[in-house]
């Protein structure tokens, strides 16, 4: 397992809503506006891609140089996702921290978008995907190596959260780790803590 070398890590913060009730067309202008208004100052945004016509697909994406932000529907579970593609640096924990931080910042921005109306609250449920099949193959050995890092990082951010961690079991997918905790997520506080680590 070489997570500390991997560039392809994603985090998806699940939303408390049904996939069928999500109107992705409303997200498209939001992402375009983020580009216009430089609302992701750490990113180099390139374009917006709408795959809302693909059932349980990647949804609507804001394509950036470092990775892609998306309102993702994969697995039939709507969520806010950041999929890192390059420029992740440091230890395994640093890399995980970077993708979680990107995801939470996007979630915070989306919550502020009035045009989206009542945007559902993020659940205390996050799904990590380790997309580099060479460096982080989907097997129990990799899972056993990564799961403690995920737990340690999460407890640093939310010390009382008692996260339940499990390995995803969808055939063919890259290694997926699901983390479920209790209580509501305070995005602002979590972003603050992650930024300090």
């Amino acid at each position: 397992m070489l997570l500390d070398q991997s560039q392809r890590i994603s985090a998806k913060l699940l939303l408390d809503m049904d996939a069928a009730s999500l109107n992705l067309d409303r997200v498209v202008p939001v992402f375009h506006r983020w580009i216009q208004k430089d609302q992701l100052p750490d990113e180099m945004p390139i374009d917006v891609a709408n795959y809302g016509h693909v059932k349980n697909g990647p949804g609507v994406l804001l394509i950036c140089h470092r990775g892609h932000y998306g309102i993702d529907l994969q697995g039939g579970k709507p969520g806010i996702r950041f999929a890192g593609k390059r420029d992740l640096k440091g230890s395994a924990k640093d890399r995980l921290r970077a993708v979680i931080l990107a995801t939470l910042k996007a979630a915070r921005l989306l919550r502020q978008e009035k045009s989206l109306g009542d945007w559902p609250a993020p659940q205390h449920q996050i799904e990590f995907s380790f997309d580099d099949r060479l460096l982080t193959p989907n097997n129990s050995e990799t899972y056993e190596a990564i799961a403690p890092i995920v737990r340690e990082l999460w407890l640093q951010v939310l010390p009382d959260s008692d996260p339940q961690i499990s390995q995803g079991d969808v055939p063919g997918r890259p290694l997926t780790i699901q983390l479920t905790g209790t209580g509501e997520l305070d995005l602002e506080a979590m972003i603050g803590k992650l930024s300090e680590i």
Binding site: V28, I35, H53, G57, P58, L61, I63, H65, L134, P171
Partner: protein, 753 residues
């Protein structure tokens, strides 16, 4: 500690030749990054490996308010080619010969899309798969992983022999002469990397069809087309061979392929193809890309002379055992995985889950009893990695490796036992892939357009998605259900709009000081008979009114068709003049304040224009003399079409030329005073102010459209008594339309500055 690599991991499972080629490409990437390879040379190198550019790869993007620089890391240090940033996302085109897509290949493509891209694979109109938003430096690993499942991206782009396409129902169709698959495979193996196919001015596209009548092979739109044929040989036995056609092609100026030979024995199809490549490499245009396709060479030489040249060349070829060995090589044809059995009796469950409506549109009986081919409709040709893996699993369970990518951007699964169809349908429902409508009106074909293509003018995918939404589930009359709608984002015709019943291609118009996305409406095309006839553009309509165009045309066809009259015959009988009149009011664009939606494109909320931002809404629409003049030129080129429909080729060509003169004079009048109607004066003025200054130059096509005008002017000064062929008249009309579009674009640029 050294990191594991895909190269090491896959060393034992990769064909050594493919592995070497990819290693060389990886070295070329490294050398280019060090500045040791010329950028133009590198651009063609990567294109020949299937690595394309993508929209905004020049580091500039209009965000709806202004053009923004995208400051890619290596900007100013190195590039992937002229005007192409090193770190900009690109597209990889993955060649799938005749669309045969195995389960193992599906799994790998799904993984690649997931890891390196955004989790979407896109099926193209030439049976390829494309993956977007890739970084060039990842491409060698991607290619290695593809090579491990027998796929090469070599010659997927560039001036080479592109993917060889073929009927998806080959071997299972009741109407075919014989299964073309082994011969398409032989041709692919023979021409891939062939030394005689490396020095072209442009690409060559090859297609195989099992019959004359259907559309699956579309040989008429290909540079080299093969149609299965049989004849009785001297010994009384039936002999297999192919009718060979050459010089077809869509693009800006489409040409129908012409018959090279009515019957070519199997052993001759490869040497004759080789001879065609050599003639094309030797005599084809090299400097002017706009005239470099095989169709232009044949138009220049005439088919008789071209035929003579090819046969002369054939005589000079050194014998190659592959000519015979490849076409007679043992070929592992598709075999059924499951026993044939009839469809079970209807049950409540089957009736309630939409099986029968899916079966009606998406299942075709094979000639083999109790076996069917079913089609999985992919919305806009897109499929997620999860779906692709699920389909791979489905094929392993029910059909084996019999899947083909279709030219309609769908997937065809052959050799399904009829007894399994309900279970297959149930699994497709779970995957979100059980939509019906395959090869029906709602199954709209589209190129990538402005979504990802550098050349896109209008949002073809956005429009296709909207039409799909509006047409799906609507209670359409039987007569229109099987009409084909095909959309291209520009005149280059990757969406194959010329051979659709109703085609569209993207253009823009300056209206009320804003640039407004439009589509030209193309009618008269024929999808059957391998793309048997090409339609022509009759009028440009704002993008937002296109759904109403479709509604009106369909409604009038349903109302006015005579007995079993086909759509193409109906259009011919009613006439384009009438159709155009019926669409005339849809040309109007409301003021920006009244309806700003007209000023952005389907699925893209950005304001379409850049030039007139900040200029307030006019109290009333102010039409400039240029707009009037260009509208007049459009009227004249439309009259040219009418003459062509009336078989008056000479008048049609003259009118097409005159329309260019009017457009040229309109533009020239903005720079010169006192212009007369004398053609030479107009040409001189246009040359001075628009061609020499490059003001008329298209950002990508450069001076191509201006040259159409100069050529037409030169021809007009020749022998006036000379007959004009229908092909030439059609070509001139197409060129005139493109010239006028370029004039609109030029006027748009002038308005900005």
């Amino acid at each position: 500690m050294s990191l594991p690599t895909w190269k090491e991991r896959l060393a034992d499972s990769t064909d050594p030749t493919l592995a070497d080629e990819i290693d060389i490409f990886a070295s070329q990437i490294a050398l280019r990054k060090q500045g040791k390879v010329d950028e133009s040379v590198f651009a063609e190198t990567r294109l020949r490996r299937g690595a394309y550019g993508q929209r905004y790869d020049n580091g500039k993007r209009h965000d709806g308010k202004k053009v923004r620089e995208i400051s890619f890391p290596n900007s100013g240090i190195t590039s992937k080619g002229p005007g192409t940033e090193w770190d900009a996302p690109g597209m990889l085109r993955i060649k799938i010969p005749y669309g045969a897509f195995s389960a193992a290949q599906m799994d790998v493509v799904a993984e690649l899309a997931e890891e390196y891209s955004e989790g979407i694979s896109h099926a193209t109109t030439r049976q390829d798969i494309q993956i977007h938003y890739l970084h060039l430096e990842d491409s060698p690993d991607i290619m290695r992983r593809l090579a491990a499942v027998g796929i090469t991206t070599r010659e997927a782009c560039g001036n080479s022999v592109r993917n060889i396409t073929g009927c998806v129902r080959a071997g299972v169709c009741g109407g075919e002469q014989f299964d073309i698959t082994p011969y398409a495979e032989a041709c692919y193996q023979f021409l891939l990397g062939h030394p005689d196919a490396q020095d072209f001015g442009r690409k060559i596209k090859v297609a195989f069809s099992g019959c004359e009548g259907e559309s699956c092979g579309l040989v008429s739109i290909h540079d080299i087309g093969f149609v299965a044929a049989k004849r009785n040989s001297d010994d009384g036995n039936e002999e297999r061979g192919f009718k060979m056609v050459v010089g077809g092609g869509l693009g800006a100026v489409p040409h129908q392929a012409k018959t090279l030979e009515d019957f070519v024995p199997l052993e001759e199809i490869l040497p004759l193809s080789q001879a065609i490549c050599r003639v094309f490499a030797r005599l084809g245009e090299k400097r002017n890309r706009a005239r470099a396709r095989l169709k232009f060479l044949i138009a220049k030489t005439g088919i008789e002379e071209f035929r003579r040249l090819v046969h002369e060349e054939r005589k000079t070829l050194t014998f190659d055992p592959n000519w015979s060995d490849l076409v007679h090589a043992p070929f592992d044809s598709d075999k059924p995985l499951r026993q044939s059995a009839p469809l079970p009796q209807a049950s409540g469950e089957i009736d309630s889950n939409g099986f029968h409506s899916w079966q009606k549109t998406n299942v075709r009986q094979q000639r083999q009893e109790n076996y069917s081919t079913f089609f999985v409709t992919l919305p806009l040709g897109d499929i997620s990695s999860d779906q692709l893996r699920a389909l791979a699993s489905l094929s392993r369970k029910f059909t084996g490796d019999t899947t083909r990518i279709t030219v309609d951007q769908n997937l065809a699964f052959r050799w399904a036992s009829n007894a399994d169809l309900p279970a297959i349908h149930a699994e497709l429902i779970d995957m979100g892939l059980a939509d019906g409508g395959a090869e029906h009106i709602e199954d709209v074909t589209s190129c990538p357009g402005t979504d990802t293509c550098k050349l896109g003018i209008s949002a073809s995918r956005g429009l296709a998605g909207e039409l799909h939404k509006q047409l799906s589930g609507s209670d359409l009359d039987e007569a229109v259900q099987k009409l084909q709608i095909k959309i291209s984002g520009c005149f280059n015709s990757c969406g194959q709009h010329h051979v659709a019943d109703i085609g569209f291609y993207g253009v823009s118009r300056k209206v009320n000081g804003y640039t407004v996305p439009h589509f030209q409406v193309v009618l008269g095309g024929q999808w059957t008979e391998n793309g048997g006839a090409y339609g022509l553009a009759i009028v440009a309509i704002p993008s937002k009114n296109i759904p109403e165009v479709v509604r009106r045309i369909c409604a009038s066809f349903v109302e006015e068709r005579q007995s079993d009259e086909a759509f193409q015959q109906y259009i011919k009988r009613i006439g384009k003049v009438t159709i155009r009149q019926r669409l005339d009011d849809l040309r109007d664009v409301p003021g920006h304040l009244a309806d700003p939606s007209y000023y952005s494109d389907w699925g893209d909320p950005r304001e379409y224009t850049t030039g007139d931002m900040g200029i307030g809404e006019c109290a009333g629409a102010v039409i400039s003399p240029v707009q009037f003049g260009l509208a007049d030129s459009e009227r004249i080129v439309f009259e040219a079409q009418v003459k062509l429909d009336e078989n008056e080729s000479k008048s049609a060509a003259e009118l097409a030329y005159r329309s260019m003169l009017v457009a040229a004079k309109t533009l020239a009048a903005t720079k010169a005073t006192g212009l007369t109607d004398d053609p030479d004066t107009i040409v001189n003025s246009f040359q001075e102010h628009f061609l020499k200054t490059k003001l008329f130059f298209d950002p990508f096509a450069k001076g191509k459209f201006g040259n159409y005008f100069l050529q037409a002017h030169q021809d007009a000064g020749g022998d006036v008594s000379k007959e004009v062929s229908e092909d030439l008249a059609r070509q001139r009309i197409e060129e005139a339309q493109l010239f006028i579009e370029a004039a609109h674009a030029c006027y748009g640029r002038m308005s900005v500055t």
